[in-house]
Symmetry: C2
Subunit: 406 residues, 2 copies
């Protein structure tokens, strides 16, 4: 059993790095706050006897030796970056539970057959740089390191510059640290476990993701003197696109979601009809066929709206992540651990994307979920119970021990 | 007859202050660019023998003496500030035509009975500070000078600070410079004169304006893992409000317009459902009854949408300007001048607000319109013909001469 109070303590200790007045965390990837938590994590790993490496995209790996060093370690972990108005648990729980597991094994003097490597992946959130799960995507070869290094945030700062600024551009080439398999603990970020009063979600699948960059070019004109029928209003156009995305997603019932998260009017003014808007779209489904339908329906709706309103709408797919089907043997291993520890559990699909989803494309991977309050995440009010976090950490540890061998 | 080439030259000379790559002007009120054009205008006034005064809100007055100095002057002018992506003529034409008139009278050695005062009113546009026509509103007593001085722009800079920064907080108390009457020349900013092939618009009325500040408080949540029915999406809410405003305005046919010009998502992120949005509403009609209906219908729609989406929407009326009915005698004077000069003309309602609309509440006022290309304004592509501008300036001068007496 892990030390529940110690785990809880580290979660709340690190929550001070980027703490917001509303009790959340603002720790954008590769920001000054991210450097603070990274420095903390590096020291904690070193103190726990781990050998820390940083790769060229800033992902951090803490290696605990096993008896058989000829095989790659079992990877465990998550991420320490957050949304602009994020919570204390998203990513943090999985990374610090991995650390807590190492501390527990150390305290108990437990050696494993295979080595264990605990990980903090760079830019899982994807809100400063696109795509989300950026570093693990490069790890599995979906993008080249150079491509990712050149990605820019809204201020035009590249990943390379941001890494250099905080001193986290490491020596290790991306992908050099191999793993035998990978396990990630995370809060559910959805309402199911709580509603069904289950402690552990045995994650067997994950939604695929479509991310688009959009741009509407209408025509700026005077709000007072431009008759309604002559307008080419970019915001009215966006409004129809937002509501179209909503009804397209709803059409597929619980099997799809669609969101416009960002929308910026160029040169806004109270008495100017918006002429240009940039926006983003995020839509998802665990069903590849539905993902195709979402893409098709969204493009058709956008074309129709653009034609009707005589505006131009550009819609570029900037990221497509296929649905995830986690490795059946690893999923069973998670389920067995939950069973043996006596926690209530159910199989579950992840609504969010996770580094484990990327890693699963090149190695066996699986995930453990614990409930969070009201299913709320990506919000400063995100909350989770200490007992649930500890239960998740125990399932994580026992899964890893089963995979690594004692 | 005014000097058409000289007027055209000053319009294009001042267009360099804040010139944009697309051929427009960005000269927000009280900005560094505004200081440049103000300095230019002050020197041009002094060179034309005018006595220049600046009031406590930065409005500039250039006085040309008349034979009878016991009566207040005829006021003539407009504004030199622009929208963030504005054109070269909106406001500029009216201010520089007033200057051109003085130059023409000087050259011809014409004395008038009453003095003439040419004006550059501060913050007519209303995009940096609300409301629009701010200084003339204070002039007529709709707001106190202190209230206006404390208004803030989006960066939190007050009018007082902005005035001090560019050195245009003048000594003259607001309202001290009296006028016998006021005449303003402006581009139409709408499509009617051009469509009907008329050179001069004899403006007999102006739309009333309602400005609101809005705030939507929904709930931030994860774009991937939050089921559609559980969302309280602030952007989807805004979208319904935008489309409701549009259909409410359309319901009143050509007699009303409604626009959401600004909308800002708090802490935007691709994979976060927007939780908070601030926005502005501008709606207008020349009919006071329709203005009441717009207000009622908008509030009803907003309440219904908010209830349906389980979000909170705050909607504060921050400015209400009643419709304008210009002084009949002055309107006739404008029409007579157009007739005598042989220009095609028609009576017209102003879609935009103007300083003359404010001044008309305390003195006889009127306006002269000239066509602009495709009715486009508040756009860098705003355009007007030299011959039309000159025609407008001639009508302006002859109206003023009729009022001032030769
Ligand atoms: N777990 C999580 O919130 N990941 C962020 C990436 C995404 O799913 O949008
Ligand atoms: N003339 C003009 O564009 N005025 C700006 C104020 C407004 O009508 O919104």
């Amino acid at each position: 059993q892990i030390d529940s109070a110690r785990l809880w303590g580290t979660i709340h200790e690190t929550a001070q790095f980027g703490a917001t007045p509303k009790g959340g965390v603002r720790r954008l990837t590769l920001s000054a706050e991210d450097k603070q938590v990274r420095d903390w994590f590096r020291k904690a790993c070193a103190d726990a006897g781990l050998e820390v490496q940083v790769d060229a995209l800033g992902s951090m790996f803490g290696l605990r030796k096993g008896r058989d060093m000829s095989k790659p370690p079992i990877g465990v972990g998550s991420h320490l970056d957050t949304q602009p108005t994020g919570g204390k648990y998203d990513g943090v729980l999985g990374t610090l539970a991995a650390l807590e597991m190492v501390r527990t094994l150390n305290d108990a003097g437990i050696e494993t057959e295979l080595p264990i490597c605990i990980c903090n992946w760079t830019n899982e959130e994807g809100s400063r740089f696109a795509p989300a799960m950026m570093a693990s995507a490069a790890y599995v070869g979906d993008f080249t390191t150079d491509d990712i290094l050149s990605r820019k945030d809204a201020e035009g700062v590249t990943v390379a510059q941001a890494l250099d600024t905080i001193g986290y551009r490491g020596d290790a080439p991306v992908g050099r640290q191999k793993f035998t398999s990978f396990v990630e603990l995370h809060i559910e970020q959805g309402p199911i476990l709580e509603a069904e009063n289950k402690t552990i979600g045995v994650v067997d699948s994950g939604q695929g993701v479509l991310w688009y960059d959009g741009k509407i070019t209408g025509f700026e004109s005077h709000a007072g003197s431009t008759p309604m029928p002559l307008r080419r209003d970019a915001l009215a156009t966006l409004s129809e696109i937002v509501l179209a995305m909503e009804s397209i997603a709803k059409k597929h019932g619980p099997k799809a979601v669609g969101t416009i998260g960002e929308a910026v009017i160029a040169a806004p003014s109270r008495n100017v009809i918006p002429g240009e808007i940039t926006f983003t779209v995020d839509c998802r489904s665990a069903d590849a066929g539905i993902m195709d339908a979402l893409d098709r329906d969204l493009r058709a709706a956008v074309s129709e709206i653009a034609a009707k309103r005589k505006v131009e709408v550009q819609l570029d797919l900037v990221w497509r992540k296929a649905p995830t089907h986690f490795d059946p043997k690893l999923v069973d291993a998670v389920e067995n651990a939950a069973k043996q520890l006596g926690y209530s559990h159910r199989r579950i699909t992840s609504g969010a994307g996770h580094d484990a989803c990327n890693l699963n494309t090149v190695m066996p991977a699986a995930m453990v979920f614990v409930p969070c309050k009201d299913g709320i995440s990506h919000n400063e009010l995100e909350d989770a119970k200490q007992t649930d976090c500890a239960a998740g950490a125990n399932v994580l540890m026992h899964t890893v021990l089963a995979l690594a061998g004692v």
